[in-house]
């Protein structure tokens, strides 16, 4: 029974990881930019939501504020950090350090305003209720399930059927060909950053409501997004989502074997196992030398 309970909570964590990682994978796949500040967007969205919520704007107001900030941050990173760097050169190192620098700025800004400790939002929705067979499930679980499934359905439909979505997929295949067809690779890059960052918003809000957040969530989300992308296979959004789900479940199920402070280690072990045994990930292409 404990195992079922842990799988349920793992599913909840994993679904949140899945949307977040899908955002990172989408940005990385389309632009080849290693956007490690993705963790910072997550933290930013969570804290902005909390501020707006406690200021009395409610769930909708909070979500709206978080969305606006995430879009502005994502598009701003593309416009003011990555584009100037790519104008002179774009080595992995330069992009990584610039992005990492921004994530440090955001994390210390949050530390200054909200302190280093946990902040949380108390909602009755996060309280567990007994279900069939002695399993406890909070209403939040169903909310997480519905929200993430809706987000993925919308994302899938957008990428599959709209002209812009098809353009985005073309961007990851061949930016040159895209230009030959008269589409603007620059505009699409800005768009993919905006969309990828917005994917953090639902996950950040739900995490805030379920467990709360501390500023160092930034590096945790950074690791999870990167690890899911590797586990799922570089360049595959579906892969990253499944990777996130797998890491979330592994984190929770590991509690049956190890003490709870080791749950973070579980994601590291999964990541390392993939690097050792299947570096291309679930759906990626070969990357070994």
């Amino acid at each position: 029974m404990l195992l079922v309970q842990l799988i349920v909570s793992g599913l909840q964590t994993g679904l949140l990881y899945a949307v977040t990682a899908a955002g990172f994978a989408m940005i990385f796949g389309a632009t080849r930019i290693f956007h490690v500040a993705h963790g910072a967007v997550f933290a930013l969205a969570g804290y902005v939501f909390l501020s707006a919520y406690t200021a009395g704007f409610g769930w909708t107001g909070g979500a709206l504020a978080a969305t606006v900030i995430a879009v502005a941050f994502g598009a701003g990173m593309e416009r003011f950090v990555y584009r100037p760097i790519q104008r002179h050169e774009a080595s992995f190192f330069t992009v990584f350090v610039a992005s990492f620098g921004v994530s440090i700025i955001i994390q210390s800004l949050i530390e200054m305003i909200f302190g280093r400790g946990f902040v949380t939002l108390t909602t009755p929705l996060a309280q567990a209720r007994p279900m069939f067979g002695g399993i406890y499930i909070a209403p939040m679980f169903w909310i997480v399930l519905v929200v993430t499934l809706v987000v993925f359905a919308v994302l899938w439909a957008f990428l599959r059927f709209t002209r812009t979505g098809i353009g985005l997929r073309a961007l990851s295949e061949s930016p040159e060909l895209l230009r030959a067809y008269g589409l603007s690779a620059q505009r699409l890059s800005a768009l993919v950053f905006a969309i990828g960052s917005v994917l953090c918003v639902p996950a950040a809000i739900l995490k805030m409501a379920i467990t709360g957040m501390q500023p160092s969530v930034n590096s945790h989300v950074m690791l999870i997004s990167l690890a899911s992308t590797i586990v799922g296979g570089v360049g595959s959004i579906t892969g990253a989502a499944l990777g996130g789900l797998l890491l979330g479940i592994a984190e929770n199920v590991s509690i049956t074997l190890l003490d709870s402070q080791w749950s973070e280690a579980a994601s590291f072990i999964v990541l390392f196992a993939f690097i050792l045994l299947r570096p291309r990930g679930l759906f990626g292409y070969a990357v070994t030398r």
Partner: protein
């Protein structure tokens, strides 16, 4: 005041060794690691255990620290270097987060959250280093050796091969260089240096706990290298001086509460790192544009 300045200078020497150690990976090897504080920590814990149980001799402890950190780095390098550059960053990020848990949990070796206290005053060649002047001289000595060793190695065949791999791996491999072996050697060398830094640190502070080996510390070391200038000898030196003087400089500015200095400091070097990457990616002491 003198005691404060001596302590600060000793810390600058120690962190300059750390920054130099990371520079071997990042600057010369083109391998990006965000786990340098882990190897710093392993060196510090190993040396502290040696000082507590075997001998307070600084040279012996530093070598043990270097060996421990170097050995651990092989475990990271072998799997992670098999694949693309990004993978090493991610594996090191994972290692950094995991290592903090391990440091807290392995109480017999690390003392847990409380850390290891009462590390004896170090000695060198039988002489006590209780005097802060002597400790400073010893640390500067280690720094000079580290810099000289880095210069000799990077000017020689090893360094040139390493840099050729950094600049164009396929071309270097076509010329018969083995990227895997050379990069692994660079990682082991860099991490062993970090272990030396850790040994000196534990001898200087006479106390080690997990707080010094977190992600924030790794970030700090990286900022030193990046701000100073990657792939140069003077860069990490300049970077560590600037960054360690920053908290002292900030405490003179009115209006910043002392509790916020840490966050303000982090924000400043985050900002400087990002701006440098946009406008001057080679760092402050770069005399030529980064060629890649």
């Amino acid at each position: 005041m003198i005691a404060y300045l001596l302590n600060l200078s000793t810390l600058i020497a120690i962190f300059a060794i750390l920054a130099t150690s990371l520079n071997i990976l990042v600057g010369f090897g083109g391998i990006f690691s965000v786990a340098q504080a882990v190897f710093f920590g392993v060196g510090a814990y190993a040396a502290a255990q040696m000082a507590l149980n075997v001998t307070p001799d600084l040279l012996v402890d530093a070598l043990v620290g270097a060996a421990a950190a170097g050995a651990l780095s092989v475990c990271l390098a072998l799997p992670a270097l098999r694949v693309r550059d990004e993978y090493f960053v991610i594996a090191s990020l994972g290692l950094q987060m995991l290592a903090v848990t391990i440091f807290i949990d392995m109480k017999p070796l690390t003392g847990g959250i409380g850390g290891l206290v009462g590390i004896p005053v170090p000695t060198l060649f039988g002489l006590s280093l209780a005097n802060p002047d002597a400790m400073l001289a010893a640390c500067v000595g280690f720094l000079v050796i580290a810099l000289a060793l880095t210069r000799v190695l990077m000017r020689g065949s090893f360094g040139r091969s390493l840099m050729s791999i950094r600049d164009n791996e396929s071309a270097a491999a076509a010329l018969g260089k083995n990227p895997m072996v050379l990069k692994t050697l660079a990682v082991v060398l860099g991490c062993a240096f970090a272990g030396v830094g850790g040994a000196l640190y534990s001898a200087q502070i006479q106390f080690v706990n997990v707080e010094s080996f977190t992600m924030d510390q790794s970030t700090l070391i990286m900022a030193m290298v990046v701000i100073g200038g990657t792939g140069t000898l003077a860069g990490p030196l300049v970077g560590s001086i600037l960054i360690l003087l920053l908290p002292a400089a900030l405490s003179f500015i009115p209006g910043i509460p002392p509790t916020e200095i840490g966050a303000v400091q982090q924000m400043i070097y985050g900002l400087v790192m990002t701006l440098l990457m946009i406008f001057r990616p080679g760092g402050l002491v770069a005399f030529q544009a980064w060629r890649r």
